[in-house]
């Protein structure tokens, strides 16, 4: 199913000066290409994370509409939208995103257990942990993991329900070069398996892996002319 945005904008009121309203995202039309790795780059504060949060059903646009297939996301009740996120979207948040009271294993299975399903996904979770190279850390708590391991755990959690779309916000932000390459290759691999991946980052290196690349500046989204992705790069 396609994810598309029609003329979406988002304004914020600065808390310290509550009369000062600024626009983080300006009237963007967008359609996420299915089964491709889409990368949006831009400087910090350019509006790319806000844009992704709106697309992923986490932040209500000030204006415009977002559709997942024929379903208008923000016309749904919070319960339904949350369930939709759980079943169809995977999200890799910016920074460290482990639930500290749960082990790696429990974190990865949380999208199932959150809805009372304590049985499903275990076999796939084993596979994902192996794929992410953190299988031997399944009983460890997030506080004991390195940045790269935490990020891979987040990715495994985002993939556990075999989502149609994966959103990743600065997934390589605090990783070294080696871990950055591992994570970006993982997203590329996921996209090749038919998942639509939307990745926002301030690092231009990510564009090397992209099927589609955009640049966000001052809340305005522009598609980049050059398509960087070539199979032989991997």
């Amino acid at each position: 199913m396609t994810l598309r945005a029609e003329n979406i904008s988002r304004q914020f009121t600065r808390e310290t000066k509550n009369t000062n309203i600024f626009t983080a995202v300006h009237s963007v039309d967008f359609a996420l290409r299915e089964g491709a790795l889409t990368v949006i780059t831009g400087r910090s504060g350019s509006g790319k994370s806000t844009f992704m949060n709106m697309l992923s059903g986490l932040l209500v646009p000030t204006e415009g509409k977002i559709y997942f297939g024929e379903e208008e996301l923000y016309a749904l009740s919070d319960e339904k939208l949350s369930k939709l996120r759980n079943e169809h979207f995977g999200f890799v948040p910016q920074g460290q995103s482990g639930i500290s009271s749960l082990t790696v294993w429990e974190n990865v299975l949380l999208p199932y257990t959150l809805f009372g399903d304590n049985q499903s996904g275990k076999e796939y979770a084993e596979k994902l942990l192996s794929l992410m190279d953190i299988a031997d850390l399944k009983n460890v708590y997030p506080t004991e993991l390195s940045g790269g391991e935490l990020r891979r755990m987040s990715i495994a959690r985002a993939l556990i329900r075999r989502p149609q779309i994966v959103f990743a916000d600065e997934p390589t932000g605090d990783l070294d070069d080696e871990n950055t390459a591992i994570v970006l290759k993982l997203f590329k691999q996921i996209a090749k398996e038919g998942v639509s991946v939307l990745l926002v980052t301030h690092e231009n290196e990510a564009k090397m892996y992209a099927d589609v690349a955009y640049r966000m500046s001052g809340g305005v989204l522009q598609q980049e002319k050059e398509v960087y992705n070539t199979e032989q790069k991997y």
């Binding site: 994370s49 806000t50 949060n53 709106m54 992923s56 986490l58 932040l59 209500v60 919070d78 319960e79 949350s82 369930k83 996120r85 759980n86 079943e87 999200f91 948040p93 910016q94 920074g95 460290q96 995103s97 482990g98 639930i99 500290s100 009271s101 749960l102 949380l110 999208p111 257990t113 959150l114 809805f115 009372g116 304590n118 708590y141 959690r157 985002a158 916000d169």
Partner: protein, 402 residues
């Protein structure tokens, strides 16, 4: 199957033992302050009511010297040992006056150290035929008639039914042990007129009584009076004080008014202290809980990204609050009971006021109430904090915690 809200809330709490313990302690303070404050104030009021019941008379007539030497209240209300005597003819004289409803004499004697007691005890003799203050109290513990050389001991004395005690070389038999009153009367010994006269005589024989020329058959220590219908206490009191020389009629309520005043003051201070502790604990609990939850905003945002609804996130926070409140409130109630019940005698002696714990049913009710109020306060706190975190946009929460 354990619900995720409960299991996640439990894990969130158990993974942070220090913070959780602090929240539990604060929550315990809520129930502890309500329970202990209420029980102390209620015990003081019960103690005063008990003292009024035990005195149980409108007027007490005593020899004038009992007033002038200022030891009357000490002996009657504070449990200090001592004695004073007047001629027993006063009883007949006053009984013949107008306005006298019930009238009975009592006899005081202070013992020397005895097997039961680490300190001398006050022995109070009464006439079972006319007594209307001590007999109703004794009947609650002892159905029989006190025989010659039988005594009844106050609840705080280390003597039991069947024991034989010796006062001034004379053996007496413990026939009953009285119910606790929470007053100084719990440390006294009660007996009938015949027995106390023998004990007074024994004290005289051993030259241990400061009244050397006393004839036990012709003395009494005080006269207790209930006025007859149609008369006021004031009328009878004035009549006695005007027409009977060398004695003083005292209104028993005025004897207690000093204690009642102190009790009112102490009750107010305890009430204010309990309220202050409660309020302080509540404010700190709100702040501590809010800090604990706000410190994990990112985690709650992550839960939203993987499909937790606003309601589910709020519910997890509220469940955490409920768990902390239940654990804390139970601990507070348990601690309160452990402090109040075993240490009630110590509290009584420290406050120097009548102190009678309420019945078990009342303690259970107050405990339940304290538990309920503390849980309600904790749950309300977590509801406010949980609702706030649930209402926040996950997108904003993630950005704020970057």
């Amino acid at each position: 199957m354990k619900k995720i809200t409960e299991s996640l809330a439990y894990k969130n709490l158990s993974k942070r033992p220090g913070k959780t313990a602090a929240l539990i302690v604060l929550s315990a303070c809520l129930s502890f302050s309500i329970l202990v404050g209420t029980l102390i104030v209620s015990s003081l009021k019960s103690g005063l009511a008990s003292l009024q019941d035990r005195l149980g008379a409108d007027i007490m007539v005593v020899p004038y010297e009992a007033i002038t030497k200022s030891n009357l209240e000490n002996i009657v209300l504070q449990g200090n040992t001592g004695y004073f005597y007047m001629d027993s003819s006063y009883l007949d004289k006053i009984a013949a006056m107008d306005g006298i409803g019930e009238i009975s004499a009592q006899f005081y004697l202070a013992s020397t150290s005895s097997g039961c007691c680490s300190v001398p005890v006050q022995i109070i003799g009464f006439d079972p035929e006319t007594d209307f203050t001590i007999t109703p109290w004794i009947r609650k513990s002892y159905g029989g008639k006190l025989q010659n050389m039988d005594i009844v001991v106050g609840n705080d004395l280390n003597a039991f039914v069947g024991d034989t005690l010796t006062f001034y070389g004379t053996d007496v038999h413990v026939a009953a042990k009285l119910e606790k009153t929470g007053t100084s009367l719990d440390t006294a010994v009660y007996t009938n007129e015949e027995t106390i006269k023998k004990l007074i005589q024994s004290s005289l024989d051993k030259k241990l009584n400061t009244f050397e020329d006393v004839n036990p058959d012709h003395v009494i220590s005080n006269i207790l009076i209930n006025v007859a219908d149609g008369y006021t206490v004031e009328e009878v009191l004035n009549d006695i004080n005007i027409h009977v020389r060398k004695v003083e009629a005292v209104r028993t309520k005025s004897m207690i008014s000093g204690i009642a005043g102190s009790l009112q003051g102490v009750s107010e201070i305890i009430g204010i202290l309990a309220a202050a502790v409660w309020l302080l604990a509540f404010v700190i609990l709100v702040i501590a809980f809010a800090i604990s939850v706000n410190g994990r905003r990112k985690e709650f945002a992550v839960l939203r990204t993987i499909g937790a609804s606003r309601k589910k996130v709020s519910r997890i926070v509220m469940t955490e609050g409920l768990m902390v409140s239940v654990a804390g409130s139970l601990s507070g109630v348990a601690l309160g009971i452990l402090v109040i019940i075993p240490f009630s005698n110590l509290i009584e002696s420290q406050l120097s006021l009548p102190f009678l714990l309420p019945a078990i049913g009342v303690i259970a009710f107050v405990s339940l109430l304290s538990f309920g109020v503390a849980v309600l306060a904790g749950t309300a706190t977590s509801y406010v904090v949980g609702s706030k975190i649930g209402k926040a946009d996950a997108g904003n929460l993630i950005k704020q915690d970057m």
